[in-house]
Symmetry: C2
C-alpha cells in the first residue's frame, strides 16, 4: 500500500480532529497548505500558538481577552448596574451585534448538566454571587441558551441570587426553544432582549 | 464596537482563508483550539510547518514525498514499463486505492489552461518526454481529469509522445464527463482503467 509522506498524513490527521472537518476536507486543506507560500503557512501556524499563549479569561467577567480586565469591564460608558449572564464567551459578540445591550457580562463557561458531571462548582457561579454581594448590581439578565441545561442553569441562578435582593430577568423566548444562542438571527435575539420577563 | 481579542481574530481570519472554511466554521475551529490542551494545539501548529519543511516533490515522478526518489519510484516490484500520467499528486492515492495499477506515475502538476496562463512550460511535460526518450517506457496511460483542460492536455501529450514510438492510452470515460478525478468512486475509477483505449 502506497502511503502519503508522513508529515502530510500527520497534518491530515490533525486537521481531521477539528470540529466540522471530515477526512475529505482535511485532505483538501492539507494540500492547500502544501501549495500555499511558506510565509502564509507560518502565519497560520503562529496564529494557533499565539491564541493559546495570549488569550486569557478576564478575571471579572471571564470574557476572552488579551488584557485584564477586558475591554468591556474597563469601558466607563457601560452600565455596571446590569449584568448579562451567558454560557460561552462567544455569546458576547452575538449579543453586542444585535441587542443594543449596554451593561456588563458574566460568562459561566458552560451550563448545568449533571449527566456530564457539570454541577455549579464547574461553572463560574460563585464569582457571580460574589459580584452581586459586593453591591452595585441592580439587575441580572439571564441569557443562557433556551435549552434544557440553559433553563436549569437559569433556575439555579434564580435560587442563589434572588435572596440577595437583586432584580432577575430572563431573555424572552423569542428564540426557538431547543435552539442555540450562537445561531440565533439578530432580530430574534434583539426581540428576546426587549421582551425579557422578571424571574 | 466590542472586538475579539486580537490573537483570536487573527486566527479566525487565517482559518477563513482555507478552502471550504467559512466565517462560521473558522470561529468554531478557533474556539475549539482555544479550549483544546496546549499540547494538541502545538502539534497542529508544528504539523503545518513540518509539511512545508519536509515534503518535497520526487525528482523522477513529481509525486509528493519525504525521500527522493519517492517510495513508488524505489519499489522494485512496480512495472517501470508503464507510466500513468496524472494532474495532481493526490490523484495517486485515489488510483492506488482503486485501480490495481502496478506501474509508475508522472505528475504534471496541473493541466493545460491557456486562459489561466498555464501552457506546456508550466507543467512537468518536458521531464516526461525525457523519461520516454530514455527508453524502457512501453505504455503511457493518460489519466488526466475528464474535463476540458484534462482532455486538451491528453491531446497535447499524444502529439509530443506518440512520435517517440510509445503506446499511448487514455483511461475510459467511465468517469462522468465534467467531473473531477479526485471525487470519483472506486468502482468507476477501476472500470475506467480496465476500459482504457489506445490513443
Amino acid at each position: 500500500m502506497v502511503k502519503r509522506p508522513k508529515p502530510l498524513s500527520v497534518l491530515i490527521e490533525r486537521l481531521n480532529k477539528l470540529p466540522g472537518i471530515g477526512e475529505r476536507s482535511a485532505q483538501r486543506i492539507a494540500y492547500h497548505i502544501l501549495k500555499t507560500p511558506e510565509k502564509d503557512a507560518e502565519k497560520l501556524s503562529r496564529a494557533i500558538m499565539e491564541v493559546k499563549e495570549k488569550v486569557i479569561h478576564c478575571s471579572l467577567c471571564y470574557n476572552l481577552t488579551d488584557q485584564d480586565p477586558c475591554q468591556l469591564c474597563q469601558d466607563p460608558s457601560r452600565d455596571k448596574g446590569t449584568v448579562c449572564v451567558i454560557e460561552e464567551p462567544g455569546d458576547i459578540y452575538s449579543i453586542e451585534k444585535a441587542a443594543g445591550f449596554k451593561g456588563l457580562y458574566h460568562v459561566l463557561m458552560g451550563a448545568l448538566s449533571p449527566l456530564d458531571g457539570i454541577g455549579p462548582e464547574q461553572l463560574r457561579i460563585e464569582p457571580l454571587v460574589e459580584r452581586v454581594k459586593e453591591g452595585g448590581v441592580k439587575e441580572v439578565i439571564v441569557a443562557t441558551n433556551p435549552t434544557l441545561s440553559g433553563e436549569a442553569t437559569a433556575m439555579y441562578l434564580l435560587k442563589v441570587l434572588k435572596p440577595l435582593g437583586v432584580k432577575m430577568t430572563r431573555i424572552a423566548h423569542g428564540l426557538p426553544v431547543g435552539g442555540n444562542l450562537e445561531f440565533a438571527d439578530e432580530v430574534t435575539l434583539a426581540r428576546s432582549f426587549q421582551g425579557r420577563q422578571e424571574l
